[in-house]
């Protein structure tokens, strides 16, 4: 099996094609078909796991065209993500089976979900940057199609476009990185690049890693290209789960982890990444405070957590980043699926219209609670372990980083519990009613909650497996502070939203300015909108104007002149050729009125012209002009 590991993503592709062919007939059952594929992938991944644990690293290459290759590689990082992705995708598909009940366009939906999964597997298993980029882009396409799944909604259409365009900006940077790597090392294969890295000019290494990180900023939604992710909520909830937990945003983290050997050599890039990560982690956590849409809160939290991971990568803490990636995948998938259930049950997205869901849907409430605790970083649930790992790494690099992250961590605990209280506690605030969730929706919740709770316990073996070295011994101080901070967040939320001792509205009033800023997402979206609508489109209009009026104007002038000349020539033939004689001779002759009467078609005028021409020619020759 290990020799054919490169077949791992193929079942998904296969079932996707089957879905395309038979999806119309299968309807919701396409989900099961898709699950067959993902389960097969998962099982295949499992079957090679022992070999990988035993230390096998495999690589297979084929020629694609000319000297460009496509190839696959298997190492601990890859296998981890392969397992994670296929696992999550299986449950998301199962969930979708229930969630998508009654929707149209199912064939399209399931095929796209599978393609999405397949591309993520493709990114992970690729052994060269070009191939990764290809699947990376196809993920972009899938996200576009899935976010815009309900394309009849203008907001969905807009969000889809925004997602693709924003990530495209990042992709261009990534492409630049690829170009630099290719130009500098002459290869696109990871191992060749890394082998050549030692001889590379540090400038180019920095440039290349920054370029690649540009791609990560786009795909993993880091500041300043984070704007697309909150809007991506327009897609169906399973899609959100897929994007946030298994695919897309995780691809970015994976890529940087993959390029760790290069990143090590580029301190500037590291610093840059840390700064971006910090800004994202804190800034988006703040935004989550004021968000009122359930899924949007989750989206902001994803951004924030991704910020954590990027900081981890920036501090060369690969273990922390990947561990958090895994844990985050579980609890965020759980949260989203739970959110889907809640929305299903309450029939609304707005958390202030929810409330009292605890009573309506116990399973959801409990599983979401597990996820909330986990993300808040309260031990012993999984989130705590990986976050701790990141914090320690950051503290090693610079205590200030750690401080900022702790602040973000505090906010995380706060807004997550705020969300929880508002949604699950109390009484329903509106009369809206949804319908109960089916089994296919609840089973994934339960399974995932198990992982969300306990995956953290295996941090050390996993970290050793991935990085090949034992984890640095944790700093107790940092651990303690992080626990305290998380609990503080929890407490504050309880005070404000649980017991309602302090009025949230009052606080909001006090910090009205900040709130407005946060609600408007720092006006970044507005600024981008303005930039696109005024500067870019404006430029386009200017170009259009230039084209139509200046370039074409010149052409038109040439044309008009030609026409004019042709008209003039007729006139010349009638008046000047004849008229020249008249004109010349009018010098000799006083009777100008004679000439006025002349019309053409006059024979003698022709004779006169001949005579005049003879005279002129002789004059010219004698005058030495000829």
């Amino acid at each position: 099996m290990i020799d054919y590991f490169w077949l791992i993503p193929m079942p998904v592709l296969f079932t996707m094609i089957l879905t395309l062919l038979f999806g119309k007939k299968l309807g919701l059952k396409s989900a099961y078909l898709g699950m067959l594929g993902t389960i097969a992938s998962f099982c295949m991944s499992l079957s090679v796991l022992p070999d990988v644990i035993a230390g096998t690293v495999k690589q297979v290459e084929f020629t694609w065209f000319l000297n460009f290759k496509f190839g696959f590689m298997l190492d601990p990082l890859t296998i981890t993500l392969l397992l994670l992705v296929s696992f999550l995708a299986t449950f998301i598909l199962l969930y979708a089976n229930g969630y998508m009940h009654g929707e149209g366009g199912l064939m399209r939906f399931f095929a796209e979900v599978q393609l999405f999964t397949f591309s993520m597997l493709g990114v992970v298993i690729a052994d060269n940057i070009l191939q990764a980029f290809i699947f990376w882009e196809i993920m972009g396409l899938c996200s576009y199609l899935l976010i815009g799944f309900w394309f009849h909604k203008p907001s969905a259409a807009a969000a889809a476009k925004k997602a693709f365009l924003t990530t495209r900006v990042g992709d261009v940077f990534m492409l630049i990185g690829i170009l630099i790597l290719y130009t500098q090392t002459g290869s696109l294969q990871y191992h060749e690049i890394f082998a050549a890295a030692a001889n590379m000019d540090p400038f180019w290494i920095t440039a290349a890693t920054l370029g690649l990180f540009g791609g990560v900023i786009g795909k993993s939604a880091q500041f300043p290209l984070h704007v697309w992710l909150p809007d991506a909520m327009e897609g169906p909830t399973p899609v959100s789960a897929l994007i946030h937990a298994a695919t897309m945003v995780k691809a970015g983290i994976y890529l940087m982890a993959r390029f760790m050997p290069l990143l090590v050599l580029a301190p500037i890039s590291q610093n840059f990444m840390v700064i971006i990560g910090l800004i994202t982690a804190l800034g988006t956590a703040l935004m989550a405070l004021t968000a009122t849409d359930f899924k949007r809160v989750l989206a902001f939290s994803t951004l924030s957590q991704l910020g954590f991971m990027v900081v981890a990568l920036g501090t060369l803490n690969m273990a922390g980043a990947i561990l958090h990636l895994i844990n985050h995948a579980f609890f965020k998938a759980l949260l989203f699926l739970g959110a889907g259930c809640v929305i299903h049950v309450t029939g609304t997205n707005n958390i202030w219209e929810m409330g009292g869901v605890w009573k309506k849907d116990k399973v959801t409430a409990i599983t979401v609670l597990i996820a909330t605790i986990s993300i808040a970083g309260i031990p012993p649930l999984s989130g705590f372990w990986s976050k701790d790992e990141i914090l320690i790494g950051a503290a090693h690099a610079n205590p200030i980083f750690c401080g900022i992250l702790l602040l973000a961590s505090f906010l995380t605990a706060f807004y997550m519990f705020r969300l929880y209280y508002v949604v699950f506690a109390g009484k329903p605030r509106t009369e809206k009613h949804g319908h109960a969730c089916g089994k296919t929706m609840l089973i994934p919740l339960v399974v995932l909650s198990f992982f969300a709770a306990f995956s953290g316990l295996f941090s050390k073996p996993i970290a050793r497996f991935i990085t090949g070295e034992t984890m640095a011994h944790g700093s107790n101080t940092v651990m303690m502070i992080s626990i305290v901070v998380a609990l503080l967040g929890f407490l504050l939320a309880t005070v404000i939203y649980g017991w309602q001792k302090i009025s949230a509205a009052k606080i909001a009033n006090t910090f009205k300015g900040i709130c407005t800023l946060l609600i408007n997402r720092y006006y970044i979206d507005a600024a981008y909108n303005w930039f696109c609508n005024h500067i870019v489109v404006g430029l386009a209009k200017v170009a259009d104007f230039f084209d139509k009026h200046v370039i074409d104007g010149i052409i038109h002038i040439v044309r008009d002149v030609t026409l004019l000349v042709s008209k003039a020539a007729k006139w010349v033939d009638i008046y000047i050729v004849d008229g020249i004689i008249r004109g010349i001779c009018s010098g000799f002759v006083f009777g100008g009125s004679e000439i006025r009467k002349t019309s053409t078609g006059q024979l003698q005028q022709y004779l006169l012209l001949i005579a005049a021409a003879v005279t002129v020619m002789i004059a010219l020759v004698w005058g030495g002009l000829l």
């Binding site: 000319l66 070009l130 009849h152 365009l165 630099i180 170009a543 052409i555």
Partner: protein, 494 residues
């Protein structure tokens, strides 16, 4: 098989004659044209199969002296450079013929002109004699002019005239360059010949001469490509041309420019090509970015697509200007890929026009709800055009960028702006025209989804775009051999 190329070249001419003589009813004209146009397609597939991939020399060549006093000969041949373009031409003509089945107005003449056009274009791609080349080059103009002026849109007169004058002036200037080469070569050889290959192999033009003549040739070809600022005929011609016309215009006619640039300008004037490499690259980049911005500003879908052609063909020029193997491969592959993709784009715009009598994006909306098949094709094609990986356009763009970055990194960065803008205008158009709620007022046109003769060409092209995106090797291997050879001629700049 010696005269395989002759057959390919003149079958369309025979087809034109057949259509002209026997296409008495609309239906007969269509079917005759379609059936006969299959012949060159099949023959060119034979040529592809019999093509020796490892050989950089001309294959299937036919050389018959014609007018010996001037050194004119009937000399045809194909190599890796022309092979893909010949394939493209025969394929697109067949598909266009099929796609044009809804032409009711003067059907006979329409198909006659289409077939004539095919002969002209094939002749350009196959001729290895300057004289023959020029003859076919001019031959292409005439049917196109009539296609535009008779079956075109409301401003067709203006557009046709502009097309004609623009390209005619350009080809005249090119002619001057060719004649200059003819004389200088004749003086050097001691006898006059129009044989491109002979001149290429035996004559070395003086640098000063090259510097002088190259711009004339370049201008001649640049108008065809088209390169900003000589591009303004293109949007007008495209927008006003009938669908079949614009498909062939974008699909094959534009490629004549790039082809001529390599085959004639580069191969015969290598030093000048190197000398002018940077200006050419700059023009290419300007075309890419400027074209993309122009496309963004358009409300007319067809015009947007037309400007996107300017942008994409700019990358051909960029790829050629960098003169390394990646750039060349990319540029030539881009010609092929753009031929397939733009053909689809224009077919789709034609359907839009036909169904809704408008192509203005602002007048459309939510079409995906009503016409899902059409919308699917649109999405597919737009993504193909914006360079989605695993579709044909991506490989080409990637190779061009790979080639360009190693020579002009800064310019390449500028050029990459076009990637984002391209995505922007396509997605924006999709959003406005296809997504969102369906605009009920459009229902008055009684839209119906694709007919068979529309979906068959689209599907074939779509499949090819996908196929050549996933495995570009069959074509790229052919191209590569020629690029290597040409680069060797250029004296290995890099």
């Amino acid at each position: 098989m010696n005269h395989l190329l002759t057959f390919i070249l003149f079958t369309p001419l025979v087809a034109a004659l057949l259509v002209f003589l026997f296409g008495t009813t609309t239906k007969r004209a269509k079917w005759i044209a379609f059936a006969v146009s299959l012949i060159p397609l099949v023959l060119s597939v034979f040529a592809l199969l019999g093509f020796d991939w490892t050989n950089s020399q001309l294959q299937f060549s036919v050389l018959i002296p014609w007018i010996q006093d001037f050194g004119i000969s009937y000399y045809l041949g194909i190599d890796g450079l022309s092979m893909p373009l010949v394939m493209l031409t025969t394929l697109l003509t067949t598909l266009t013929t099929l796609f044009s089945f809804d032409v009711d107005h003067k059907t006979k003449t329409y198909f006659t002109l289409l077939m004539l056009l095919e002969t002209g274009v094939l002749g350009v791609f196959m001729s290895l004699d300057f004289f023959l080349f020029y003859l076919f080059w001019e031959l292409v103009l005439i049917p196109m002019y009539f296609l535009i002026i008779e079956w075109g849109g409301p401003r067709r007169r203006y557009a046709a005239l502009k097309f004609f004058v623009y390209t005619h002036v350009a080809s005249l200037i090119m002619l001057v360059g060719i004649i200059a080469m003819y004389f200088v070569a004749g003086r050097e050889l001691g006898y006059y010949t129009f044989n491109m290959i002979e001149i290429m192999q035996k004559v070395h033009f003086a640098s000063s001469f090259q510097y002088l003549v190259f711009p004339a040739l370049f201008f001649g070809f640049a108008v065809k490509i088209p390169v900003v600022p000589f591009h303004t005929w293109l949007p007008d011609a495209h927008v006003e041309a009938p669908t079949g016309g614009s498909v062939l215009l974008a699909g094959v006619l534009l490629k004549m420019g790039g082809y001529g640039l390599i085959r004639i300008a580069f191969c015969l004037m290598p030093e000048a090509a190197k000398y002018y490499a940077l200006p050419m690259a700059i023009l290419g980049v300007i075309s890419m970015v400027y074209g993309a911005f122009l496309a963004l500003a358009q409300d007319d879908m067809k015009k947007m697509v037309a400007y996107s052609s300017v942008s994409h063909m700019g990358s051909v020029l960029l790829g050629l200007a960098v003169m390394n193997v990646n750039g060349f491969n990319g540029a030539i592959y881009q010609m092929f890929a753009h031929g397939l993709i733009s053909a689809m784009l224009f077919m789709l715009c034609g359907i839009l026009q036909h169904t809704f009598h408008t192509r203005r994006i602002s007048e459309l909306g939510g079409l995906a709800n009503r016409l899902p098949r059409l919308a699917t094709f649109f999405v597919f094609t737009f993504f193909a055009s914006l360079g989605l990986p695993l579709l044909a356009g991506f490989v080409a763009e990637l190779l061009v960028f790979l080639g360009a970055f190693s020579v002009y990194p800064a310019l390449t960065l500028v050029a990459m702006i076009s990637l984002v803008i391209t995505a922007a205008y396509y997605l924006w158009a999709l959003q406005r025209a296809f997504f969102g709620p369906y605009r009920e007022s459009l229902e008055v046109h009684h839209p119906h989804d694709l007919t068979w003769y529309q979906s068959v060409p689209l599907t074939v092209l779509g499949a090819l775009v996908l196929f050549f995106g996933i495995c570009p090797a069959p074509i790229l291997n052919v191209i590569n051999v020629s690029s290597q050879y040409i680069l060797q001629l250029l004296g290995g700049v890099l």
